[in-house]
């Protein structure tokens, strides 16, 4: 494999791993916990280094992952006191642990060659330089293998606990009564998030970990309500951001991780604005259309309700109907024009009367609209 392909493969592995666990993270409204963990693992790495004294040891990853879980635990502990809100608890714990990490790194900078900038910002371009050599044979970049293991771990976890995850995400109470411990799911998921973050941030930096964990699932959430589809779409969006990010970064010769995060944002913006039915444009448009549609049906229902009653002449008279619809005059005229245009109603003796077609249309739509639940 050439370095180009290697970098992209690593990025894709990271994207998929992060998007997978990220889906459950954002559904549980814990997106910012990912942000917190991506910061606090620095302290975990530093502390683990003090014990192991080897910067290349894979045990560092475990130390960092433990720190991620400790972060979750500390936040939960503060939460339980009910003295502060959950968001404040997160915002209290992670800068604290992160600061401790930075202080340790700076004070013992001589003994740790840990570049805080590199940790936080990451540089994917250097990933291929760190090779895995077994028996003197170079079998590829180390990150690639680490991320492969992490990806398998993510897939296994979600495949094994899919039912429990789904249940405890959407109905904590039910999950508990059915005997699935929400606490177990919570901590196992957060441990997975920690491990994934640590492994990934070694390869791509903290900020891209957060971008991949929260971004693609959020975009997918915008597109679908179905959990399975959301997982697949999330993976897809992750891969798209990774590949496009790589090529854009190469083109402009800028940071790969940063560009991938930027691509997540661009993808988000495109989906958010343009996606049919749910996008910004579609809802803006449909809000206006809805107003006309509802008004149209309202007018027809108004005719249905008053046709043949003693007040018909007043309520449905072409000159007096405006006084009973309470719309702006221009709007009323427009709606009446539309109704006449579509042959839903006709004018007889200066009274608005509904046609068979109009009756059918009004009633079927009325049921359709109100019967949505």
């Amino acid at each position: 494999m050439n370095p180009q392909l290697e970098i992209q493969t690593i990025a894709i592995l990271v994207a998929i791993s992060c998007s997978l666990s990220g889906v459950f993270l954002i559904l549980r409204q814990m997106a910012m916990m990912a942000d917190a963990i991506s910061h606090t693992i620095l302290l975990g790495i530093v502390l683990a280094f003090f014990v192991i004294q080897d910067l290349s040891s894979p045990l560092l990853i475990i130390g960092a992952a433990i720190m991620g879980t400790i972060t979750v635990f500390l936040v939960e502990t503060i939460n339980k006191t009910k003295l502060v809100n959950e968001d404040a608890a997160i915002g209290l714990i992670f800068p604290f642990l992160f600061s401790l990490g930075i202080i340790l790194v700076t004070l013992y900078a001589g003994s740790i060659h840990l570049d805080v900038d590199a940790v936080l910002l990451g540089e994917l371009a250097f990933a291929p330089f760190n090779r895995l050599i077994i028996n003197g044979v170079d079998i590829g970049p180390k990150s690639l293998y680490i991320m492969l293991v992490i990806l398998i771990l993510n897939i296994l976890y979600i495949a094994l606990f899919y039912k429990e995850l789904k249940l405890s995400t959407f109905d904590v109470g039910l999950a508990a009564t059915l005997g699935f411990s929400p606490v177990f799911i919570h901590y196992s998921l957060m441990s997975l998030v920690s491990i994934t973050s640590v492994a990934a941030f070694d390869a791509v930096g903290a900020i891209l970990v957060l971008a991949f964990m929260v971004g693609p699932p959020t975009i997918a959430y915008l597109v679908t309500d179905n959990l399975t589809k959301m997982i697949w779409l999330s993976v897809l969006f992750g891969i798209i951001s990774a590949i496009s990010g790589y090529w854009v970064a190469t083109w402009f010769d800028v940071t790969i991780a940063g560009t991938m995060a930027t691509m997540v944002g661009i993808l988000f913006a495109i989906v958010f604005i343009f996606i049919p039915e749910r996008g910004l444009i579609a809802t803006m448009h449909s809000k206006k259309e809805q107003k006309y549609e509802f008004a149209l049906i309202s007018l027809l229902m108004h005719i249905i309700n008053h046709q043949g009653t003693p007040r018909e002449i007043e309520e449905l008279g072409i000159d007096t109907i405006k006084n009973h619809l309470y719309w702006e005059e221009k709007f009323t005229e427009e709606i009446i024009d539309r109704v006449l245009d579509k042959n839903y109603a006709y004018i007889e003796d200066n009274i608005l009367k509904i046609s068979e077609e109009g009756k059918k249309f009004a009633l079927s739509n009325y049921y359709h609209i109100v019967d949505l639940d």
Partner: protein, 248 residues
């Protein structure tokens, strides 16, 4: 014809493309104690919020005394659901009740001795004087509701909207609240209450609106609050539409 305080015409409220309220026509006469009753999800709170401009309707018009809501808002009092605020907010009973005067004060001007006096009076009215300086998180559910009620009293409005004021309060507070509402009515005020306890409707209220996304019926309790109408209200929404077909 009676003079109406509130006039709602053809109001439709849509949330995420689903109509929560459909084609609401509602007249609220002056000087009544009215309950809005209906099943969960019937749009009771939404109806109040739409009347008060918190939710924007897709179509329709609401007038208060024939005028727009904005021009009349100083005559309108509101008691939100107790759960809608954070009771751990650092403030005390007197402070919350004083908030009822903010509307009259307008921008920037601070409440003074006069406003304090009004607030104290209202607190006394709801039997909370010994708690005036208490932090609001240390109040029971019933006491919190009394605080909100006192805040609305301070507004000195002509019509009051209350969203589930009996939710989670003890029997004693419930009695006290209803006594207060009757007193307001006797002073010629109009009170509109979102209510969920069907059994107490005839005892507490003289006017009722049965709502299930559409207004099933609205009028004096003895005329409207019938088994037949209640069945209509509490059956599924789709069935309700046959009402319209009957007319044809």
């Amino acid at each position: 014809m009676k003079n109406y305080v509130v006039n709602v015409n053809d109001m439709t409220v849509v949330y995420h493309k689903k109509p929560v309220l459909w084609d609401i026509d509602l007249q609220i006469p002056s000087g009544i104690l009215m309950a809005i009753v209906g099943p969960n999800g019937a749009g009771k709170s939404t109806l109040i919020k739409a009347m008060l401009g918190l939710v924007k309707p897709v179509t329709g018009k609401v007038t208060f005394w024939g005028e727009s809501y904005e021009s009349q808002r100083k005559r309108i009092g509101y008691v939100p659901q107790r759960g809608s605020v954070d009771w751990d907010f650092p403030t005390d009973v007197l402070d919350v009740v004083t908030m009822g005067t903010y509307g009259q004060l307008g921008w920037i001007k601070r409440p003074g001795e006069k406003e304090r006096e009004l607030a104290i009076q209202a607190i006394e009215k709801v039997d909370m004087l010994p708690f005036a300086n208490r932090q609001i998180s240390q109040l029971s559910g019933g006491q919190q509701q009394r605080v909100f009620l006192a805040r609305a009293l301070v507004q000195d409005a002509d019509i009051y909207f209350m969203d589930e004021p009996f939710q989670g309060v003890d029997a004693k507070t419930e009695k006290a609240i209803i006594k207060l509402l009757e007193e307001l009515k006797n002073r010629g005020k109009t009170v509109v209450v979102v209510h969920h306890d069907l059994q107490t409707v005839p005892e507490y209220f003289d006017w009722v609106t049965l709502l299930n996304r559409v207004v099933i019926e609205s009028g004096p309790v003895e005329k409207v609050f019938t088994d037949e109408n209640l069945r209509k209200t509490y059956r599924s929404t789709s069935e309700n539409l046959y009402r319209k077909r009957d007319v044809m």
